[in-house]
Every structure is written in structure tokens, then in C-alpha cells.
């Protein structure tokens, strides 16, 4: 059971500004003249894994946890600063030699079907934000009293939602899930969670660790239809290892009788979850009074082509499922940050080549805003290192002109002060962190998160 919900993000500080001084190391200094060369000023926008891994690789030669990185003399943390309202991209570009955008994906893809706005329909982004304690989602208050839930999408986030809805309270209460969500889940009446995908078993977007955790979830039973797996075995022969192992696990659950402890658990289970394939949502159905969700209508699809590129095409058949809660988990989406920063609306990313933003010298990006909202921590780590390497290469080769000194965070502070914006320093963040951990200690959790931004700011500035 994962004990961390939002371990990697300084989650209440979207769009904040981590200002990192990347003083060139000895290798780079040799390229400069004998006069003292100005230190290179770099600004990183976003303090999630992408931001921190990029910072780490720029300030290299030391192993750092994110906390250690933030403590480095050459690294300055500015929380609670919003690009656009508190500071502009133009001002950052003037104050720093390089600006690296690592602000992730704070939007989500919409279904584009009627009924999407009914009460009881949530984006996974908001639902996950709710149980993870994002202040913006603290009042979500989802109704968990119906017995059936439909989750649209079959990625790791979809499985995470299912996991939270179905996990025994004894396990959840030892995690950093918010107390309010824990109470909600504890009181819920959910018996059945259906996780729906438009394509087939060979196209599920989740990965094996998360699937295995669901298969082994105490008090629950997985329900897979063996008919969905006919003919799949032959396709396994030539596919890559990760997909192969994942599919083998799905097939085992779908087609083999459970043995030993699994058999006992499934027989005794009071809750079930299932994966349903080849179903594409076309309409969300309201209750008689038109106010809440009552169900969902699907078009039945079939696959054209195979493997990762298989496409779902309509068959003309339709199917309806009753439910009292729908969570749409079809992808996060990045948003454009500023008119001066190119943005590809179709792909939902900043157009770039290896992290160098197209047609905009001095601007870089890493993480989800660079390559799209997929992948695990190792993916983001590698991606951030690639961007950092490009920045260092550009400094080295003078593609990035660092011969003129730039004011860096001094300019930033000046502008923020003028505007009456008080940023949160890293030690301010640490005060919030310390209080959350203390509160968690009192009730046997890793932390109990503060949900109110004003409370956080008061504490940070105390």
C-alpha cells in the first residue's frame, strides 16, 4: 500500500518560481576570459519532480533529495508566486539567463459528451486532488452513497481512484489521505467499481505494479470477463516485456481459478472491481429530476489494427450502465502559461526539441509540459536530466549568452515586494511540512495535510 499520495509535489504551490543559481562549475569556467565571469542565473517554474530533478542536474556533482536541493546555497525557493498575476514571463526572461518551465499539467481532458456537467461526475484530477488534500479540491464533497461507480479510463490514475474507493479503512488510515476523505470513504456504500476503456486488454494504459495491487486488494474481488481474452495469448509472443507481463497477469485473473488465499479472499469479498473493454462513452444519463448522474450510455467498439496503434471503431451497438458516481480519468492536460510562450493546443505541450522551446532562445521545459502527461517518476527524471544537459551545453557553447550579468532573484524579490506579494521561502514551507507531520503523528499517519492556503501562509510567515 502506497503510503504517499502526493509525496513529490509541493502541491499547494502551482506555478511557483524556484530560482536556481546555476553557477558554472570548473569545466565551464575555463571557457570564459580571465575576468570574473558572472554566475549564470536560471529560473525554474514549477516545484514538482520535473522542477527538482532539473535543478538537481544543473547544480550537479552532489546527490540530493529534493529537500537537500532546496537547501543548497545556490538554490532559492519562491512559493506562492503565480506567473501572470504576480510576475510575468517577460520579467523572468529579463532577470534570468534561462527560464525552465516545469509546471506540469493542471487541466484535464474533457469527455465531450452530454451530461458531463451533472452532479456526481468528476474529473480524476479533481477526485485525486480531493483525497490528496489539494486546497482547490477540498470542498469537492463527492457523494459516495451509491453502490456502483464507473471510472472512465484504464491508466494508473484510474486504478488509483478505484484503490482509494475500495481500500479497507484500516489500511487507508495509515496513509496521508485527508481525514475528510477517509471519513467519506469509510462511510461509503460502494460495492462495485467498473473501470472502462475504449479499446481492449492489450491497450490498457496502467502498469503492472498498480494492477497487482488492485488484484491483491483485501476485501475485494477482481472481475474480468474471459471472453475479452480470447485470442490474446497468441498476440503475446512478440510483444515487449512490460506489456507481456501485464497482459499475463490480466489473463491469469480472467481465466484461471484462484487458488489458496486468493480463492478465500474472493469468496469472502464484499466489494468487486472490474475492467470492461471496448466501450466508448456517448452520454451521461441523469436522474429523473435531471440533477445528478444515474448512469452512462456506451457505444460498443471493436478494434481496427493491433497493438499500441489499434483504433476503436463503433459497431453501432450500445449499452447502458447504472451508477451514482462517474470519475473521468482520460488524461491530464497542460495549459498555456503566457502568450509569449509557444503552446501546441493539439498535443497539449510546449513545442520543444529535447527541452529547448522552439523558436524561443533562453526558454526550456521539462516534465509533463514538455512531453505530455504520462510516464512514471523515472521517465520524468530522465527527461529533466535531458533538459538540464541541453541548458548546460548551451551555456558551454555560448548559444546561451551569459556574458552579461543578470539580477536573478534580486530582481524577482524587488518586483514581488512592489506588488505586495510575499513569497513563501523554503523554511516557510518546512514549517508547514513540520506541522502536517506533527498533526499526522497524533493520529498514526505520515502527515495530516493543511487544506487552507491562508492558514499555510500565516504559518509560513510566522
Amino acid at each position: 500500500m502506497s503510503a504517499y499520495c502526493s509525496r513529490w509535489t509541493l502541491r499547494f504551490l502551482n506555478r511557483l518560481c524556484v530560482s536556481g543559481l546555476a553557477k558554472t562549475n570548473n569545466k565551464h569556467v575555463q571557457h570564459f576570459s580571465s575576468q570574473t565571469s558572472p554566475s549564470v542565473q536560471v529560473c525554474i517554474v514549477g516545484s514538482g519532480p520535473a522542477g527538482f530533478y532539473t535543478a538537481q542536474h544543473l547544480l550537479k556533482n552532489v546527490i540530493n533529495t529534493f529537500t537537500q536541493t532546496a537547501h543548497l546555497e545556490r538554490c532559492e525557493f519562491f512559493g506562492n508566486v503565480t506567473i501572470g498575476s504576480d510576475i510575468t514571463m517577460e520579467e523572468l526572461k529579463m532577470a534570468y539567463h534561462a527560464v525552465i518551465l516545469c509546471y506540469g499539467a493542471e487541466g484535464s481532458r474533457s469527455l465531450g459528451v452530454p451530461g458531463e456537467k451533472l452532479s456526481g461526475v468528476y474529473s480524476a484530477k479533481d477526485f485525486v486532488g480531493w483525497y490528496n488534500g489539494l486546497p482547490a479540491n477540498k470542498d469537492l464533497n463527492p457523494d459516495l452513497s451509491s453502490d456502483a461507480v464507473v471510472i472512465l479510463g484504464q491508466g494508473n490514475v484510474a486504478l488509483d481512484v478505484a484503490r482509494i474507493l475500495l481500500s479497507p479503512v484500516e489500511l487507508l488510515k495509515k496513509t496521508d489521505i485527508t481525514q475528510a476523505s477517509l471519513d467519506s470513504v469509510a462511510a461509503s456504500k460502494i460495492k462495485r467499481v467498473v473501470i472502462v476503456g475504449r479499446r481492449g486488454p492489450l491497450q490498457v494504459a496502467c502498469t503492472i505494479k498498480e494492477l497487482r495491487e488492485m488484484v491483491n486488494l483485501p476485501g475485494t474481488k477482481p472481475v474480468l470477463d474471459r471472453r475479452d481474452f480470447e485470442g490474446i495469448k497468441d498476440a503475446l509472443k512478440d510483444i515487449a516485456r512490460p506489456r507481456k507481463r501485464l497482459t499475463e497477469l490480466l489473463m491469469k485473473v480472467a481465466m484461471e481459478e484462484p487458488s489458496g488465499r486468493d480463492a478465500e479472499r474472493w469468496a469472502a469479498a464484499s466489494q468487486e472491481w472490474s475492467l470492461r473493454f471496448l466501450r466508448s462513452p456517448i452520454k451521461i444519463l441523469p436522474t429523473a429530476d435531471g440533477k445528478k448522474v444515474a448512469g452512462i450510455r456506451f457505444a460498443v467498439t471493436t478494434l481496427e489494427g493491433s497493438g499500441e496503434n489499434a483504433k476503436a471503431v463503433l459497431t453501432g451497438q450500445e449499452e447502458e450502465v447504472s451508477c451514482g458516481l462517474i470519475v473521468s480519468s482520460i488524461g491530464y492536460k497542460s495549459l498555456p502559461i503566457d502568450d509569449g510562450v509557444p503552446f501546441d493546443e493539439t498535443q497539449g505541450v510546449i513545442p520543444n526539441d529535447m527541452g529547448r522551446v522552439c523558436q524561443t532562445p533562453g526558454l526550456y521545459c521539462s516534465g509533463w509540459v514538455k512531453r505530455g502527461p504520462t510516464g512514471v517518476i523515472a521517465t520524468t527524471m530522465n527527461d529533466s536530466f535531458e533538459t538540464a544537459r541541453c541548458v548546460l551545453e548551451d551555456i558551454d557553447s555560448r548559444v546561451l549568452d551569459c556574458s552579461m550579468a543578470k539580477p536573478g532573484h534580486h530582481a524577482l524579490r524587488g518586483l514581488l515586494e512592489k506588488r505586495g506579494v510575499t513569497p513563501v521561502s523554503f523554511s516557510g514551507w518546512e514549517k508547514i511540512d513540520a506541522l502536517e507531520v506533527t498533526r499526522g503523528d497524533e493520529i498514526g499517519k505520515p502527515r495530516e495535510k493543511l487544506l487552507d492556503v491562508q492558514e499555510m501562509l500565516q504559518l509560513a510567515r510566522a
Binding site: 502498469t207 505494479k209 499500441e308 529535447m354
Partner: protein
């Protein structure tokens, strides 16, 4: 390409940590036996000859040689204590091996390649490690997670190479197409 290791089995396999605990217990029992009826010299090498009582260094004191090869190809020889895991060892010596989940088998950032001569001397990875290795870019037949490589005397001379970072970031080696 697929690794030649057998796929997951139905039975739960004890984790490497469990195995390490078992082998530590075995070491203590062995050390206890040797201590009975005689002195043990801490720095004595393992010299078991028929006419002499064997004098052995307690396993936890044995130092072995490990070579890390970093991403730029630089070889970094270090000394390690038996029982140490390769991730902690790397951190002790400032080697740039990330351990995002702090050895809890929840990520693949400590992915290393084990030199061929030593790969088979390691106990097989359990299911949970295999699951995480699935996520490692540039997976090879000799891939392991550094946090699961527990150093034993027979691993003296092992080389652990950090995978190079490339553009190909997708966890199963391809780019997803829209559907």
C-alpha cells in the same frame, strides 16, 4: 527485447529484504558457531586448513570491492561492507544513482546493469522487483534495481553500470499514438 528470466509465478516469492534477513540470521548462527571454543581475530582472512581451526572474519566486517561505472563511462572503485545495498553504497560515495522511492520497490530510478560474471551470483529478483524493472528505460538482460543488490563476499569485484539517459523515455520503449 524480452529478458530470458522466467515470468512471474503464482506463488508469492519472498522479497529480497526477506532473503537478506534470512541470510543475516544464517551469518549470525555461523559466527556463533565459530566463536564457541576459540578466539576470532577480526581482521583474519578466511584461512581454513585441515590442521588449523578456521579463523574467519565475521561476515559483517568483510570489505569487498565494487566498481560503479557512471553515466559518462567513468569507473569509480569503492569499498563496500557485506550486507550493504548498492544504492546506499552509491550514495555514500557520491555516485549519481537516484533512489526516488528510498528502496521501497516503488520506482526504477536506481536501475543498474550488473557485470555479466556476477549477474548469476545474485538471487533472482522477486515479482515486485520485476514489476519495477518493467518501467526502467533501456532494460537489458543484466538489469537489476540497485536497492535490491545486497553485497555478499562472493560479489567481490562486481561492476555496476548506470544506464545512459536517452530520449526514449516511454516505459515500454515506444511512443503512444492517439486513438
Amino acid at each position: 527485447s524480452n529478458r530470458r528470466r522466467p515470468a512471474l509465478t503464482a506463488e508469492p516469492i519472498p522479497s529480497s529484504l526477506d532473503r537478506a534477513a534470512v541470510s543475516c540470521n544464517a551469518l549470525f548462527r555461523t559466527a556463533g558457531t565459530r566463536l564457541v571454543g576459540g578466539k576470532t581475530r577480526r581482521d583474519a582472512p578466511n584461512t581454513a586448513t585441515p590442521h588449523k581451526r578456521a579463523i574467519r572474519t565475521p561476515q559483517s566486517q568483510i570489505i569487498i570491492n565494487v566498481v560503479f561505472v557512471d553515466r559518462s563511462g567513468q569507473r569509480i572503485p569503492v569499498k563496500a561492507k557485506v550486507g550493504d545495498n548498492a544504492l546506499h553504497l552509491a550514495h555514500k560515495h557520491g555516485i549519481d544513482l537516484e533512489g526516488a522511492c528510498e528502496a521501497s520497490l516503488a520506482c526504477s530510478t536506481c536501475h543498474v546493469y550488473v557485470s555479466d560474471a556476477f549477474y548469476d551470483k545474485l538471487p533472482e529478483p522477486d515479482e515486485r522487483e520485476e514489476d519495477m524493472l518493467d518501467m526502467a528505460p533501456l532494460l537489458q538482460e543484466n538489469s537489476r534495481l540497485g536497492c535490491q543488490v545486497i553485497l555478499t563476499p562472493e560479489l567481490d569485484g562486481i561492476e555496476l553500470t548506470l544506464p545512459k539517459i536517452t530520449r526514449n523515455f516511454y516505459v515500454d520503449g515506444h511512443k503512444p499514438a492517439s486513438h
